[in-house]
Symmetry: C2
């Protein structure tokens, strides 16, 4: 049995630095917990200035890590599709196992990467790619493996959850909340990937492959961002007993699965409604496990390093034992198809902005009624001093395509001067 496992790290940013620091400090802990000696042998970063931090480990030559003889596991912590994809392919082809936190890459290339890993008899760990320290990847692949999962709903993006929490607590608008998030280091200078729900779609693509044995590119996942959510909507949500959260939603129905990312009305007493600030959480309904929730830090260097170190040690144990136990991404369920967004049914919240005149509500409800959409509640507040007032409606379960048709018809009514806000509801 091999008792010494050697690690090379590519990328010394926030996550890389935390990984290296803890890895070096805890070699004895790892030995105590596994019986194996883990050692960090090489570190690289495109910024040669990092050499100062790790003078004895730093190399500017990536190939010394991806194909060096003295490396067993390559830890890729640079993010983004390229050059990470090239580095990882090179490492796998050189017989290295790989640990990565790269959700953008995996949501695009997981099938190719796992096929390559299988071909070269190496392991590929990616726990830190979704929800950092929350062990959701391992739980889906291993602990819950006996379950048919009917529904998964998750808060997977700290930036947007922070913004929605700020708007909910302090009542500021989206721009103010975004600015605060940027000042606190919780949002990038260019927050597009987060705000538009694309980062969440990346992660949902990874989780749904594991939960439903169906790899789906994130590009095929319906995604709506949180820009359209106004403080008014959050207030009305409260009036109806709901919170607004950006959710990744996956629902299995027989041979079909719904996959979507959008702002969502969620009952105030739902477990996910209490998940605030930059925290992440994943809620799962399994046919044996019942309802469960995993909650924790979904971002930050230490949390991501916690997930990556878990992977390194897992793979190290397998290598030490003779490298016979690989875990494929999934054995694909080819019969399963993804439901297009137009074919879903759910409950809806609409906010219309209309003149405060008699007959306006009747015109709107007439269109909804003709399209088979049944209304559960209406709030029309008296604010007659303004030119236009909000009218909000919560529907019973309706078909997305009927809803879209209705909103197009309502949009053509002369009374509607501003775009209508639509937010889907989950119970």
């Amino acid at each position: 049995m091999k008792k010494n496992i050697r690690i090379g790290v590519i990328g010394c940013g926030t996550v890389g630095s935390c990984f290296i620091k803890h890895f070096n400090q805890k070699k004895r802990l790892f030995k105590n917990r596994t019986g194996i000696d883990f050692s960090l042998v090489k570190v690289s970063d495109r910024n040669a200035g990092k050499k100062k931090l790790f003078p004895s480990l730093y190399t500017p030559v990536i190939e010394e890590i991806t194909s060096g003889k003295d490396v067993d596991i390559v830890v890729e912590l640079i993010g983004g599709v390229e050059p990470a994809y090239t580095f990882i392919k090179n490492a796998i082809r050189s017989g290295k196992s790989v640990v990565t936190a790269n959700k953008a890459l995996l949501s695009e290339k997981s099938v190719e990467l796992f096929a390559l890993a299988e071909k070269h008899n190496v392991h590929l760990g990616f726990e830190a790619s979704v929800a950092s320290a929350i062990p959701i990847i391992k739980s889906l692949r291993e602990s819950l493996v006996g379950n048919n999962i009917s529904r998964l709903m998750a808060i997977l993006n700290g930036t947007t959850n922070y913004i929605l929490t700020q708007m909910s607590i302090h009542g500021g608008n989206f721009s103010q909340a975004l600015e605060k998030a940027q000042k606190s280091g919780y949002a990038e200078a260019d927050p597009t990937l987060d705000i538009e729900g694309l980062d969440t779609a990346h992660k949902l693509s990874i989780l749904s492959a594991l939960a439903f044995n169906k790899p789906v590119s994130w590009r095929k996942i319906f995604s709506e961002g949180i820009k359209k959510v106004d403080t008014l909507d959050i207030k009305f949500a409260g009036d109806f007993g709901y919170r607004v959260k950006l959710l990744a939603i996956a629902k299995r129905q027989g041979s079909k699965v719904e996959l979507r990312v959008h702002p969502t009305f969620l009952p105030q007493n739902h477990m996910l409604s209490g998940v605030e600030d930059v925290y992440n959480a994943v809620y799962i309904e399994g046919d044996m496990s019942g309802k469960s929730l995993m909650y924790g830090e979904g971002a930050g260097g230490n949390a991501a390093a916690s997930g990556a170190i878990g992977d390194v040690i897992d793979i190290g144990k397998k290598l030490a034992a003779g490298n016979n136990m690989r875990l494929p991404l999934t054995y694909e369920n080819k019969k399963l198809s993804v439901v297009p967004i137009k074919d879903i049914s759910t409950r809806y919240y609409f906010r219309f902005t209309v003149p405060d005149k008699p007959g306006v509500l009747a015109k709107i409800t007439d269109v909804l009624g003709r399209n088979g959409i049944s209304i559960a509640s209406v709030i029309q507040k008296e604010e007659s001093k303004d030119f236009a007032v909000p009218v909000v409606i919560l529907t019973h379960t309706a078909k997305e395509k009927d809803v879209q048709k209705s909103l197009r018809e309502i949009g053509r009514l002369s009374i509607v001067k501003f775009p209508t806000v639509l937010i889907r509801v989950e119970e």
Copy 2:
């Protein structure tokens, strides 16, 4: 590579029946998710009437499972120390891997069983022994392996959590809530192990071995049950902004660890405070992972079977790959010692029952003050019609030994006619 893994099940009660049902229904799912054929080859139960349920699988002869040539993994689902201990030892000595949900056995014999499993090169899975479907065992052993864990707090007993939830929501007393739990099937006819906190201590003994590399018999864990918790205490907890929960608490402080089970005042906004009814949850603070919570169904046949099937498939994959990767219970940290309860410090809630006369509060606070116990809040309600009234006090952090000394002194005061209630506080 071995592609067929054969399972024998001992015990066809609630958990066993669910295990067998799902196992038989999902053979194709397991094959799809692992590439391995799992088959159930034998089932036994001391009740020969079970033969009717599984005519082709049932055997009255336990040895056909524990030492039969056609069994790879023995699943023990009978519970209790004996005869389960004997069956498992026989299975291990015959070279079988074992999966068990038996917390009573593991909290007593885990060190011996893991040594025996190591000697015979077999695997021992026990995910379902604590919190059933919540993957807390795997998370502590694998996902969080890179963390130094500073604190673990958990609700691990559904019966007591159900009773406390009932008392909290409906205001009934302990006996009424227990009766309701028994009627609903959430409490045993003899609920002693649950009510007295011993079942929780069993489970804390298992978790702390993994979190702190320190196997400690449940007999050495300080345990207090919930019988002493009165509806009044739950009401006062609410007045102070707390909930009352029966918690398993483990705290690491350098080379020492506190392990205790008792009713606890927990802030209303703590994640564990929202865990109601028979649900379980484990809250963990790690130096990398930060604060995390795992929540789910901690009891019931399906939830326990979910954990056991996860173990069976994990072990099956290892056997299929050549059986080289065993996981020891832990490499013991012999330097770590357990803090005796008298040496802990925390905040305390006291409820004194005293005559409603001038000077009574002064006598009590005088004793506390002389023992160095500082008071944070006092509630003394005016209910002068009664012979005796409650006086409740919430302290700042104090030493347990000072607290016990004070309560003994106060107990000797002529004004104190009823036992004083003490409940420890966690933040």
